[in-house]
Every structure is written in structure tokens, then in C-alpha cells.
Amino acid sequence: MATIVFTRALERFLPVPTVEVEGETLDAALAAVFTAQPGLRSYILDDQGALRRHINIFINDRPVRDRIRLSDPLGPDDEVYVIQALTGG
């Protein structure tokens, strides 16, 4: 089971506890998260299901490669970090 950790910046909108999910790809793992928490999907993905422009995902210490279809493979002990780019103002 991969572990998914979400940026704390999301906590002001909705609960985002760290979760462990099944999934052989990032897309499958996120789909499992969104099944349990449908309202979270639109905070991470855009209307076409791609990663939002200023959201990044790291699988262990590597940034996700496929931002459109999220097809990056996941291993059973992978740690996935969903973070936001920092912009000011």
C-alpha cells in the first residue's frame, strides 16, 4: 500500500489525513482517495483530470512525470507527497 501525504495548506478547506491506498499507478491510488473523499478531487486535478498547474506530486523523492494521465507506477512502499507551489501576494 502506498502512503499519500497531502499539503497542510488544504486543511483550511477540507480534511486531508495521510492515507494508505492500493494502486499500481498514481492515477489508481488517487482514484481510491477520491472515492472516499469526492470533494477533494477538484482541489488536486483540473476539469480534464490532469494535475493542477501549481500542484506537484513527488513519489518518494522524484517528481511525477506524467502530469496529464498520472500513469507513474507505484510500488507497495512508496510515499506520495501532494504539495503546492509557493507563490506570494
Binding site: F13, S42, D46, D47, Q48, Q84, T87
Partner: protein, 361 residues
């Protein structure tokens, strides 16, 4: 007369009410979050939050109850034959939010330029496909205050809910008389100074900043355009430039008197690249004779070293045309009780203001 003003800013929503004979902030919501649109129907209040990283979200409050997140306009899957669309099939920002005049209907105008309709008070939305997929939309280019075209004005005929006019930044005025099933671009008489000579009058090349309509005389519309102020007496089909505008013809906002077709207000600024008040003086220009002449109103407004700019949704009048409010990029907020003759500012320093709106208007 409305006793409630909503002010959507770069860092939250502020509600002003009457207190001790004046105006004061009586409620705040979404502190720290950008609010791009607000609507108060009298029963429900809506706020669009432009969360940037996390996308745009729409919240609703029933009466004076709690806010809760509701549905948001969402684009359908992008088909293969639209893969070359220069604009994204994903919601950027909600830029206009208007009641539909029929049951729980609402209209939302957005960046990148989609128009959406809800018939259940905002719980669910559908894209108006006829406007989004028409070939002419590929000509909607320009930066619209961001990176995309945007629908900033949605004017629903007060007696005919099926009749809608939408203003598109850098792409003219589009009309439908069948609830959005079919569309035509209709604006004649405007001009775009920056196009090649033969194309300056092309309707689709017009950078309409904002549209306003006289509710009691819906055939009368006003337009603050990139190149000047225009007025129509036939629901937007033909426009005449209002050349008496002073001290400048440039600006973003316009408000129409709800019952007097000859009265409207704009907030002039130095045109084009500079976009600051003329001579460092914040003024409001008002016409009461259909644009033949203007009063430049400044009583109570800063007249020295003032660099406030007023965005296109940041000027509003109430349902009677006596009360007005406008907010600025510098966080200034001014309210008039006398149709603009005099202005006062409550004690507050707000974040940059995106939108102001009276409840019920």
C-alpha cells in the same frame, strides 16, 4: 434601498451593513482567499473563490446561515477534435454570476470563456456548448486581465429569461434569445484602435470591459470599452460612442441606473498602459442625459497622490440608483448615498477589491 454591501477582495469577503448611522463591516468570510464574484439574491448569497493552486470553488449561504461549498462550473472531457484549442477546457475563474430570472436559475461567466447555467441554485452546472464549441470562439484571443478570454458580463432580460447577452473580454457581445441554444455576435458601432485599419470595427475584435443594463428600460445598455464609453438603445445591437466622457475615456467599470435610462456612472483612468487615475485624483463620472454630458464627481474622494484603480466588477449601484459603492486595487472603498454627489469611506483598509455588490441588486 439596500442595506447590505458585499465586497469581494483579494483576501476575503467583507459584508457591510448599517451601523450607527453609517456603514461598517458586519461580517467577514473566507479571510485570506481571493473572491472573484459575489451575488446576493436576497435569499441566498454566493461567493466564488479563486483559489489559484486549488482551482475555483463556489460557496453559498442560505439567509444568514453558514457558508457551504456547492457545485462549481466544470468543463466536460475535451474531445480529440478539440485538442488544438488554444484555451484550456478547465475552469479558470468565475467572473460573472447572475440570477436567471426563472426559478433557481443562475448564470456563470468564466475565464477561459465558458458560459454555464444552473437550474438548482448552483448545486449543479452545465456548460452552454453552443457558445463554447462554435468555430468563432477560436478567434477569442487576448489577455483579459489574465491569460485567457473571459465572460465578464451576463445580462438577462428582466422580463424574458430566455434572452441573454454576454460580454466577452476582447471578443465582443454575444446574444441568445433561446436560453443559450443559439448565439450571434451583435455589437455594431464600436472600434478597436489597435487593430489594422480595415478590422477596427469588426465586432469580434472589440475589447468590452464591462456592460450594464437599465433594468426598467432593458433596451438601454452602457459599455466601458478599452477605447471609450458606448451606449446602446437597442439591447446591444448598435452602439454610439459617448464622446463627452471626461476626464478620460478609459476605465473598466460601468454602472447603469436601474430605472433612469439616461443615467450611468463610470470611473475614468488614464488609458491603456498606465491605468492610474488622471492627475492622481480619484473621480467618478456621471451622466444624466444619456451621455450628452458628464459631471466629474470628487467630493469625498482622494484628490492628491491617489493611485487607486477600479476593476470592472468593483463599482455597483443598488436597486434604486441612490446608493453606490466602489472599491479599488489599493483597498479603498467609497460609498455614496446621493447618486455620487458625495462619497465617504468607512474606517477600514481592505485588501485589493475585485467586486462590490449590493444585496438584491
Amino acid at each position: 434601498m439596500s442595506d447590505r454591501i458585499h465586497v469581494g477582495t483579494h483576501k476575503g469577503l467583507f459584508e457591510l451593513g448599517r451601523r450607527n448611522g453609517g456603514w461598517d463591516i458586519v461580517d467577514t468570510a473566507f479571510l485570506g482567499e481571493p473572491v472573484s464574484a459575489v451575488l446576493d439574491t436576497g435569499e441566498r448569497t454566493y461567493a466564488a473563490l479563486d483559489l489559484g493552486h486549488f482551482g475555483t470553488k463556489l460557496w453559498r449561504r442560505e439567509g444568514g446561515g453558514d457558508w457551504r461549498e456547492i457545485g462549481v462550473p466544470t468543463f466536460p472531457p475535451q474531445p480529440e477534435d478539440a485538442a488544438d484549442d488554444p484555451h484550456p477546457w478547465t475552469l479558470g475563474k468565475i467572473w460573472a454570476l447572475e440570477p436567471g430570472g426563472k426559478g433557481d436559475r443562475l448564470w456563470a461567466g468564466t475565464m477561459p470563456g465558458g458560459l454555464f447555467r444552473s437550474d438548482d441554485g448552483g448545486d449543479s452546472w452545465s456548460l452552454i456548448e453552443a457558445l463554447w464549441t462554435m468555430p468563432e470562439r477560436r478567434q477569442w484571443w487576448g489577455v483579459a486581465g489574465g491569460e485567457q478570454p473571459g465572460i465578464h458580463s451576463v445580462l438577462v432580460h428582466p422580463e424574458v429569461p430566455a434572452d441573454i447577452r454576454v460580454g466577452v473580454s476582447v471578443a465582443g457581445l454575444w446574444a441568445s434569445t433561446d436560453e443559450g441554444a443559439t448565439w450571434n455576435i451583435i455589437n455594431q458601432g464600436m472600434y478597436n484602435e489597435y487593430m489594422p485599419p480595415g478590422q477596427q470595427g469588426d465586432p469580434i475584435a472589440q475589447d468590452i470591459h464591462r456592460l450594464a443594463r437599465c433594468r426598467a428600460h432593458p433596451e438601454v445598455m452602457w459599455c466601458q470599452h478599452h477605447n471609450g464609453v458606448f451606449r446602446s438603445e437597442d439591447s446591444g445591437a448598435n452602439w454610439r460612442e459617448v464622446t463627452a466622457i471626461r476626464p478620460s475615456k478609459f476605465g473598466f467599470a460601468v454602472a447603469a441606473h436601474p430605472t433612469d435610462p439616461d443615467t450611468a456612472w463610470v470611473v475614468p483612468a488614464i488609458k491603456d498602459e498606465k491605468r492610474i487615475p488622471v492627475d492622481g485624483k480619484v473621480v467618478v463620472a456621471r451622466t444624466r442625459d444619456g451621455g450628452e454630458s458628464f459631471d466629474v464627481l470628487s467630493h469625498g474622494l482622494p484628490q492628491r497622490h491617489a493611485y487607486d484603480l477600479v476593476y470592472r466588477h468593483a463599482l455597483a449601484t443598488d436597486g434604486e440608483g441612490r446608493r453606490l459603492v466602489f472599491g479599488s486595487t489599493s483597498g479603498g472603498l467609497w460609498i455614496s448615498e446621493d447618486a455620487g454627489d458625495s462619497w465617504h469611506t468607512p474606517e477600514m483598509r481592505l485588501p485589493p477589491v475585485n467586486v462590490t455588490r449590493f444585496a438584491g441588486a
